[in-house]
Symmetry: C2
Amino acid sequence: MYTAPILVAGEWRQAAECGRFQPLNPTTRTPIELYFPVSSWSDCDAALEHAAQAAHALKQLPGESRAVFLERYADKIESAALEICQIAHEETGLPLEPRLLNVELPRTTNQLRQAAAAARTGGWAQATLDTSANIRTLRAPIGPVIVFGPNNFPLAFNGIAGGDFAAAIAAGNPVIAKAHSAHPHTCQKLARLAFAALQEAGLPAATVQMLYGTAREDGLRLVSDQRTGASAFTGSQSAGLALKKAADEAGKPIYLELSSINPVLILKGALEQRGPAIAEEFATSCLMGTGQFCTNPGLVILPKGDTADTFVRQCAALFDEAPVGTLLNKGTEDSLKRAVRQLQDTGAECLTAANTADPNRCCQPNTLLIADGQQFLQNPHGFQTEAFGNAALLIISSSTVETRQILERLEGNLTGCFYTAADGTDDADYEQLEPVMRNKVGRLLNDKMPTGVAVSPAMNHGGPYPASGHPGFTAVGIPASLQRFSKLECYDNVRPHRLPPLLQDKNPCEAWRLVDGNWTQGDVTHL
Amino acid sequence: MYTAPILVAGEWRQAAECGRFQPLNPTTRTPIELYFPVSSWSDCDAALEHAAQAAHALKQLPGESRAVFLERYADKIESAALEICQIAHEETGLPLEPRLLNVELPRTTNQLRQAAAAARTGGWAQATLDTSANIRTLRAPIGPVIVFGPNNFPLAFNGIAGGDFAAAIAAGNPVIAKAHSAHPHTCQKLARLAFAALQEAGLPAATVQMLYGTAREDGLRLVSDQRTGASAFTGSQSAGLALKKAADEAGKPIYLELSSINPVLILKGALEQRGPAIAEEFATSCLMGTGQFCTNPGLVILPKGDTADTFVRQCAALFDEAPVGTLLNKGTEDSLKRAVRQLQDTGAECLTAANTADPNRCCQPNTLLIADGQQFLQNPHGFQTEAFGNAALLIISSSTVETRQILERLEGNLTGCFYTAADGTDDADYEQLEPVMRNKVGRLLNDKMPTGVAVSPAMNHGGPYPASGHPGFTAVGIPASLQRFSKLECYDNVRPHRLPPLLQDKNPCEAWRLVDGNWTQGDVTHL
């Protein structure tokens, strides 16, 4: 039985297998006839050893060579776009168009190119010069980065092509990608393109390596190994926190993007003035991509009253009428079912028809649940169970005071939204409630659903624990996302010719640098 | 028996004591007749509760009010300089002049004033605007910060006056300072001045709070409490790592500055050309302040040969001739004695005369130890035992290859130095060895001892684990040190009048902001 080879040390080699697995086609519930290996520790060890060597070699090369790699890789992904998306569709059930081909793939290549531009100029490194004391510091590569991608973005967050990958490479680090077990074939296809691009760009062969599966304990060893610089994980809270514990104990940085229910607060004036439009917006945002976004609006809080009743009925109807999307895999299906049951056991009532879902594919009915503010306050943790997928919970609050209490009991989230009236009628409530919400979320929105995560320098895709592991970092947005994979390197009285190019007086790349307290793209001139 | 009151919620109140302690005068080995309380959890809980409220209130105030506080505090410290330094001298044995009065106190007020300037303009927050997408992000206060200061800088790193304190306050956070048990009276004096300055500046009363002592488990609870934003600890590895574990498990950031032996590498050409001058520099740097600096040069590596023998003899003589300084306290004395014994047990030979130290004060003889490269390689961990105080270890390496192996086995350090010949004879060795050393230290120096830590924007006082908890942060250097106490707050489509001042189009404070990819102090202009 043929098992796919892993990519280690610049060659596709058979894994030292301790198991193998097949992906599943969630649209048909049938296994895909491809076999991928679960590596034993010797594969991980080899990858780490070569990554550590590659890290040293990479440091001698200019940012330009990483830029060329990232751009060639983006080109190759575009050239093979249809094939990649067909494979990703087969493994994830995500629609080929527009989702994969017209949205996620362009986002992926855009990220790679933005990262390339950052690597080329070097401004992300925030070189800081004190010319009179002759002390100079920059953000330098942190060392081999282990990237664990999630199930829900087979391209844009893929461990071998997504945001964390692009950021880690652009910052000058080799990456060991752990393919997601739900879409290994997609990962394989991308890894082949990455490796071809890497050879063209002349980067060290072990700059990009990939394993398909590891035993749980080997994952923990990877993030805590002394050769590892840092790790990035996007996925479930339980897996992420286990990795965090191992990395923390070894003093190794790990960046997490975990669960989030993304509270949406609709204030009274907004509800009265444009309830039906907001209901449409909410249903669209919540059911898009079968709700499988980390910024999916999973908790909507609205003020009690006739308008709320109308809003609730409308949302329930929209959920019932909308087509039921396919879920990523059996695991997602099972955990969504479990979460919905848990919310009902906690006391939420189901508003939607439990129409039988198609038994031939991975799916669950579009599900809208409801509870009131007092119920929430009696069991805030239970009502914050994340139902990852096409489900959401409405909370009817009886007063602004109650709403504030609800907000105070929220756990950390990636996003939080306020819908408010345009005429100022909600301003007093907003002023009371905003400071509480602000403290619980990484990104605060007004009159906009949270599901779009623009790749903007000003984006924050992060938030208070347990939405992420540290509220000072973002997984999306260049240059900030690169800084996660760096360490501060200071040069004190080091002779000029020994300084890294970004710290020398001349600044031919016109990198933005903080020189004697002022940001400038110029050279240092000695008067 | 009178016990000093703690500062909680804007009042000096009696602690809910579960014990009390007296500081010791290390110059006379006699207890100082003052009693300070060990608080029980109810004091910690009260401080946290009030700090959380103060955090909300502080967020509504402009940076200007924190700037005024920090400046008034600096003024008051200067006005009371002699009294403060006399108290600090009594508790720490550090010389009144020049150390406390002419070096450490001015450094302290300088830090407070630099932090004030940063708080006033707000550029430290790195406001990042994407005007076309209308997404805007800044670094916002992280919440109440617990600061544990070290024993060796009673002013400049004091939990209630030092660098971490200034950074946390400037970034907009209330501080709960844990006084160091070796100099509580100094802390009390400073806290009184801080509180007076705070009242003048009109900050919330609980912006600055202070406890003297807590049970070990209450320290762990403080750093992991849900109301805590972050913590900062400078001190011993064992205490720091216990706090880190508790904070990590709760998902709370903690910034550590732990042990460091600060390797100094003297290359062949430098040794031959100016060995005697380097020996003088080394002995001065190592014995200054009785060696009680986190950047004390504790490990010197030099190439075998006659010149090395001469260097070694000279250093031993300098150590024997130099006056023996007083150590901070009994704890420092005991741990230095233990560390020296441990290094000897590992195989290091003592070069200095074990002249009986003065039994009437806390001290140990100036101690210089020696071992060769092979010994080091056989037990690298043992030979990296930190001997905090007036002691150092010389390693004689038989070749550049051996030196490289030694560097490869170094643990994370704050600093690392190369002494090289001016005429280029050491350049080949430097090129071979620098990448290894670079990877192990936060600050790399050429031809300069590491003991001066300039308060420069380009300083990095941090390094790879276990020198610190995360190699991307620095404890010294403004604005970078402020960023540790912040979280990213993103505003997506938020109405203009609801944005924090730093994110609005107008930029009256002329804060440096990253607007559409360019750093500027200007307003946003819509064409």
